[in-house]
Amino acid sequence: MTQTKNQTLSNDEMAGLLKAIASDRSVDAFEAVFRFYSPRVRSFMAMKTGDRQIAEELMQETMVSVWNKAGQFDPERGNVSAWIFTIARNIRIDFYRRRRPAFDPQDPVFVNDDIPSAEMEFERVQDAALLRDAMATLPPDQLDVLKRAFFDDVSHSTIATDLGLPLGTVKSRIRLAFEKLRSALEGRR
């Protein structure tokens, strides 16, 4: 299977590939997912670790996890890129031997969303096309702060120091960026 590494498949196509991995253990489907995501995940890992070999290893761990957990991906609940980001993020956290307590939807005390799923905006908060469009409208300074937060894995005060800005400015850029993203996502209703 040949796939140029920069070809962007639609989220539905990617979700279809994950389904084929889960149900048929399709190596071809996995190769397509791998060709698109692995260079990006490797770069993501290299940003924080600064080491190509470690980045390659953490990328491989991430993709093994994608292969193993493909059946857990729920297309009703989110998009493929967001799901793969969370896997990569968790593997990076493990690499640094940090703990990140998380909620458990199976927990009997867990409070479920009582908005009926048909009307729920939850599935829309990760609408891949809407998110891409909304991100494209963010001012460069806000986009830059988000990239630093997600990819460099540094605190907001470190971002402020790196950019030579007051912490309050970084925080307000974060708030403005997410206000804009949320209103773009909710605007679809």
Partner: protein, 219 residues
Amino acid sequence: MNINHHLSDELLLDYASGNLSEGWSLVVATHMAMCPSCRRRLAAMEGAAGALLEKVDATDVPVDSWERMKQRLEGIRIEEVKQTPAAAPSGATVFPEPLRSYVGADLSTVKWQALGLGAYHLRIPTDDPTTQVRLLRIPAGKPVPEHTHVGRELTLVLAGSFRDGSDLFGRGDIEEADDDLLHTPKASPGEDCICLAVTEAPLKFSSWIVRLIQPILKI
């Protein structure tokens, strides 16, 4: 459940990006177990991260990367993941996951230590040396000793409620306080207020008597 006090974008972003240490994450995630609206905001942030990931430049791709991946796959057997709901804990459960893994299922099993002034606490051990996490039990109608902070403090209500100025905080509500804020939270009458609190450093109690006993109590 009616939650009126939510997580800030800054804190949620730290959690979404994986940059929040264990102590803060414990309180943030326990709030989200009770707060669908903050979970939707988290999902939107992870969606934004996904959209950014798609745009990352691919550099230095080793030529044999896929071959090595393929070899690895051959050694993997898929284990079926069984989603078994956790057994419902007995008794009056007030502690959702992830908190429950740290302190047990419910209030009746908590080994409280007296703080004086009718208040109790339980230190929650974590692997995170940068924070201090505690459960607090403030008697109904009584104030929490007034204090300022070194850095940030997060307080999540698990039972009862407290009032801070004009704001009322009930189960699920989270209060995020910054440096220099001198606040005087007071438990509402009728029920003891149980809170999960995380701070950056030991609290500086501003009342001299509490400050005097603080090193002894290690609070």
